[in-house]
Symmetry: C2
Subunit: 535 residues, 2 copies
Amino acid sequence: MAVLFPGLRATAKWLKSQPASPLAAFGGGIPSFNMKPSMLPQHAALGHIRLVHAAGDKSRPGNGTGPRRLPFATVNEQDLDYFRRLLPGRTITDPDLLQSGNEDWLKSVKGSSEVLLRPQSTEEVSQILRYCNERRLAVNPQGGNTGLVGGSVPVFDEIILSTALMNQVMSFDHVSGILTCQAGCVLENLSSYLEEKDFIMPLDLGAKGSCQIGGNVATNAGGLRLLRYGSLRGTVLGLEVVLADGKVLNCLATLRKDNTGYDLKQLFIGSEGTLGVITAVSILCPRKPRAVNVAFLGCSTFQQLLETFQCCRGMLGEILSAFEFLDSACMRLLEKHLKLVNPITESPFYIVIETAGSNAAHDEEKLHNFLETVMESSLVTDGTVATEDAKIKALWAMRERVTEALTHDGYTYKYDISLPVEKIYQLVTDMRHHLGDRAKNVVGYGHVGDGNLHLNITSPTKDPALLAAIEPYVYEWTAGCRGSISAEHGLGLKKKNYIYFSKPPEAVALMGNIKSMLDPHGILNPYKTLPDNLR
Amino acid sequence: MAVLFPGLRATAKWLKSQPASPLAAFGGGIPSFNMKPSMLPQHAALGHIRLVHAAGDKSRPGNGTGPRRLPFATVNEQDLDYFRRLLPGRTITDPDLLQSGNEDWLKSVKGSSEVLLRPQSTEEVSQILRYCNERRLAVNPQGGNTGLVGGSVPVFDEIILSTALMNQVMSFDHVSGILTCQAGCVLENLSSYLEEKDFIMPLDLGAKGSCQIGGNVATNAGGLRLLRYGSLRGTVLGLEVVLADGKVLNCLATLRKDNTGYDLKQLFIGSEGTLGVITAVSILCPRKPRAVNVAFLGCSTFQQLLETFQCCRGMLGEILSAFEFLDSACMRLLEKHLKLVNPITESPFYIVIETAGSNAAHDEEKLHNFLETVMESSLVTDGTVATEDAKIKALWAMRERVTEALTHDGYTYKYDISLPVEKIYQLVTDMRHHLGDRAKNVVGYGHVGDGNLHLNITSPTKDPALLAAIEPYVYEWTAGCRGSISAEHGLGLKKKNYIYFSKPPEAVALMGNIKSMLDPHGILNPYKTLPDNLR
């Protein structure tokens, strides 16, 4: 099943004109197109196949809808000998030890890799890739394996290349705040390391205890501080990357400004390990703020929440570091599954506001003035403020632990949507109306400041009929607002075929050219990011 | 003359292994290599040829050292007919009108183009490029023509494609602060447009009265607000680009977050018009700060200036929006050539600090505390503060008009260097010592907050002996500190062959592959950005 939007003859033509690659693997080829009214021009869907597949099926995961295994070589004893010589004691073939590397955090995607490699150095990564490229062995680069779109685990028997042992800080400059480290450093460890030096990482995520900086960069992770410190495209100053053929690309600059030629590192940020393996990162870290405050507020309507956001940006200005929201459905899940206690009176919407600044008295005065304004104008119905670490953490948990609460509510269909901020909750409302009582829960939360909604729909069990009701509806709705069908999670395995809802065919074709240029044999993280019609 | 650093066998080998392209045009081919001690590994120089050339010489500009004209077609009457039909009244062939498009702002590079096109729409740009690509006519995209490295003017008879008439604002979203406009909008006009809406552009440059946003993005302009709002790689949210073959790449998203595939727009940011012509930009604009203060301070040593910077970052924190410096040599030029009056007592170094915040009382208190601290600890010897617009402008002029003052001091050799911040003034001191009385003036100014030094050396007239003393010394010095030989100006025509001082050969080779992929006939801004040995 596939959808074509009106005015998209060019797309269809373009798709049909693509040579039938020997690597083409879209469940039997490019699907046929049906016309579908009322959609945006310049966006096409290539079908909506959900790739949740069973373990151990090497030919075709899922119920016949997933990709076919591409004709890569299979790891043999000679290969294992080579790896064991190169990485003595760090070439893992024990099935029990492989288990966690084969399955994603959500337990929604499971590969059947039989070898996991744990290099410690860039040179080792280079030798692994050179060998695999010559042998046509597919490789799945893996960081903390916390991704939500099936990008971090093998689909078939790809070799897992884990960066877990590449966990050394290489340098930190106290004057400039520039940190240089290996890709496998865990985000939380880097945060602790910097905290002692009075700095912080420019990004923070719920997965910080496991996720690695290399994976963060490879997936262009967003998270909770983006509103204040901007995206990794600005804060990452340099990368070291090993290309598919083993060549080491050293762009590990530690300069804030460098306009000597094309900025190659940008190619690898957000490319989900499909263009190269990031082995080291240099990143600009902000000073640790002297004062942090968190407010947890309740609003009666989403319109009032938006007005509160506008007021907040004006009155808190440069000290605003996060403006997050969750709806009452999220709160019910937190209470039910995690026994968290709502710190304020029940409301349809909840806001988490964080301020971070250099002068506690100033920040408290700004926050006080803001709260007075929004309470007096009845934009906000109730609220509580924390300035102490423990209470700050408790308030943040109400937002950070929603993902965890959802895992206890049944099978979860997850969507990570970017929209014009004034539209982000309308999608939740429309979806609830659209699904009626077919869904157990339809909940919305996310980063208001970034226009990023996390829409989650739960069901007692996996439910193909429910899925058919959700997709392509959710993608069409998003494309209709010129939104992004993946704001921060990436495309990975699960979302790659929906790329045309957010990118025009010319752009996707160019992405394919870049992939072919950098990885001509397609060994790096195959079946991910790019749609199946490309390769 | 060329230099090779020790440990660079791989570089030499790589260079020698490059196929002799029919387009190779490095004044007679790749120069031979001499070994040079005491330099960093992984950086190689490909000679240092200064490309200041005379007008009208179509075969080889300069005194035999510039590039040769590549075998592009020459514009004929049929071509002009086509352009006149496509752009009636906007196909300029009058030599007087062509004059300003052929010469750069510094009057250091002059081309001999005989036609300048003024499209108004993306569709017109697309038709121009499709035609030129088929006809193998070279094209020089041109914005405000304010570049300092000869990137914005033709080298020979390239067709000038001016974006000047593409000057419409397409949309502005008051909630998100996202502006979408055509590439030819002048930066200052956009600033005025936004000011009325209580927003500002995230970048500000001395050239704002002429430079265009498309050119700003194409050159990844830095400027005076980078310290606060980050680089264009973070603030540019979307681009529309016309590729060499006329294809329109619509990545004009207006979303803060979008992780659907590779971020193609990054390829075009900073590629100096060599990969595509930017026709529209969407950019995230900050709220207009409610309070702005500027302090102009004097320091006795550069070490004290650096300590003032550290103190400033701690005490002004989130309201610090600029930390700029100039030395006493700059001040003398401002006084002599522009009759500006030093607002404080004479000092070896001067600092311009700007704060921008949401609460005037808080900002003034922070600034007051900071000034008290640095005066009491004798880090700063004298200073003055402005809060009113006119005085703020007057203080900023001391920093912004240094470039202008230099043009009155004789022939100027300009360098735009990125270094670890603690090293930025050592290069000026070392250069003064190195040149002795061969230079008229050696001055340093720039963006301390970004580690970006503008080193300028003046001479009564053009002086090849002086140039030979400056280069490659300045580049070797920079490479020795792992700095960038072009922090924000780009490479253009003048600096392209020095790229190996800041980028390893593998990276430059990959840039060449990207160029070949996107512009296989090399028609877009030829002779720029990439070194001559590549094409």
